[in-house]
């Protein structure tokens, strides 16, 4: 239930506007086309005390490289303007009170849904990852450790799992940098295989935002940058989320 301002996520029902939210707020967000600033998108995305489990936190399966780089980046969230993004089980949890624009929203039973990159919840078996975003530089860093359930060639991560991790990092970056919502295209050049259980660092940059599209590039490499796993460019379509109608 409502505790303070608009910062509380009403997780009891995803289809009710948070009670007590001032009516002016929804209009504020919809004022101009894609007028939401990155800062307001980030603060709404990174709500604290949602009561939801944040999967983007260290656990026993994280390799030493991943842990140490995580701590380095955590330090930078205090000094250099980086933000650690929370990661919930369903994408619905990230946009509480909002929905896809009319014509795209699909009403159905959502209880069972999981965002693809959190499909395997056993620690260390599937996707272990955390994304750090820099609002003013419009960059992201994703630390990704593929588990044994993501195998393609024996001992190595399936190409599709890296494609999905890149798409997911693009997705969060595009949303926060410019309300990018749906993937328009992905163009991946695979260079080397990622051994299962090792760390891949994905660096994402927003190249430009024009014609209602967010253009990004990504390099996935080893921590020491000696091995490039893949390079990718992605384009996302900007779409304004709508407020869910009050009950």
């Amino acid at each position: 239930m409502l505790r303070r301002g608009f910062q509380v996520a009403g997780r009891l029902s995803q289809h009710r506007v948070l009670p007590g939210v001032p009516q002016v707020l929804p209009r504020l967000i919809l004022t101009s086309t894609f007028g939401s600033s990155t800062d307001s998108l980030v603060s709404r995305f990174c709500l604290e005390k949602t009561g939801l489990k944040d999967y983007a936190l260290p656990n026993a399966s994280w390799c030493p490289d991943m842990l140490s780089l995580y701590h380095e980046l955590q330090e930078k969230t205090k000094t250099d303007g980086w933000v650690k993004l929370p990661s919930f089980k369903s994408n619905r949890d990230h946009i509480q009170g909002l929905k896809l624009p009319l014509g795209l929203a699909v009403p159905s039973d959502e209880r069972d849904w999981r965002i693809f990159t959190r499909c395997i919840q056993v620690e260390g078996q599937g996707y272990e990852y955390v994304i750090f975003f820099h609002p003013s530089k419009k960059k992201s860093i994703c630390l990704f450790q593929p588990g044994p359930y993501l195998e393609g060639a024996p001992g190595f991560a399936h190409g599709g799992s890296l494609a999905a991790m890149m798409d997911e990092t693009f997705s969060k970056t595009a949303y926060l940098a410019g309300q990018g919502l749906l993937t328009v295209s992905l163009s991946i050049r695979f260079k080397h295989l990622i051994p299962v259980g090792s760390l891949a660092v994905l660096n994402v940059d927003v190249e430009k935002i024009e014609d209602q599209k967010v253009y990004m590039s990504c390099i996935a490499q080893s921590r020491d940058q000696q091995t490039v796993y893949a390079k990718c460019s992605g384009v996302f379509l900007q779409l304004q989320l709508e407020n869910e109608s009050p009950q």
């Binding site: 795209l104 024996p154 599709g160 997705s171």
Partner: protein, 236 residues
Amino acid sequence: MLRSGALRLCPPGALRGPRGSASPPARESRPPPRSFASEAIRVDLSLPNPSWSKDMRLLFDQFMKKTEDGSWKRLPSYKYVSPQSTEVKTFFPDAKPVKGADMPQAQLFPRSLEEGRGFEYAMFHNHVENRTVCIFQGGPYLQGASGFLHGGAIATMMDSTLGACALRAGGVAMTANLNINFRRPIPLCSVVVINSQLDKVEGRKLFVSCNVQSVDGKTLHSEATSLFVKLNPKKV
């Protein structure tokens, strides 16, 4: 780790799957044997199961009819890539099961989720036309934007289908490039058809492309072009 006496009787691989799922899988109903279960490895998952929707079953039957004259072949699909297979030994001589484990810890990614939750698919290949068709039903754990399939899940299935086509045409190959254009989002839990074909071969390069369509053929969801490179046994 529960092997025998598990509350839910299920194939060994599934014991490591996500906890707390609702329904037990219908496939096996006896306690898993303790030793390296070759049976579990060889369970062909490209066959109908209770999670398949009506659309999926209809499509499957249509394609099975096509296999009757020998031009089309259904491709089997397993949960594990056995480290003992000749192909693996040739190209990945260092691959071995995780030490101490009785059965492989790893699972082929598109087969690592529980029945009905993730990727449900079956592939058919036409060796005359060098075409591979994959019928695919994406489950609730493949969510992207609310209510739709994740772009990465579609990419995974396209990569798998293109890879199967390349494999049949030229032997073991790895994805070098993958370029996908997404046109219309795919609703979660719906069925799509991925049509892939070999376009061209240049030495060790295999050019394969595919498109993803709705069951009725009226909606083009996405298209992709790709480059696969045949592996050199000495090099990997």
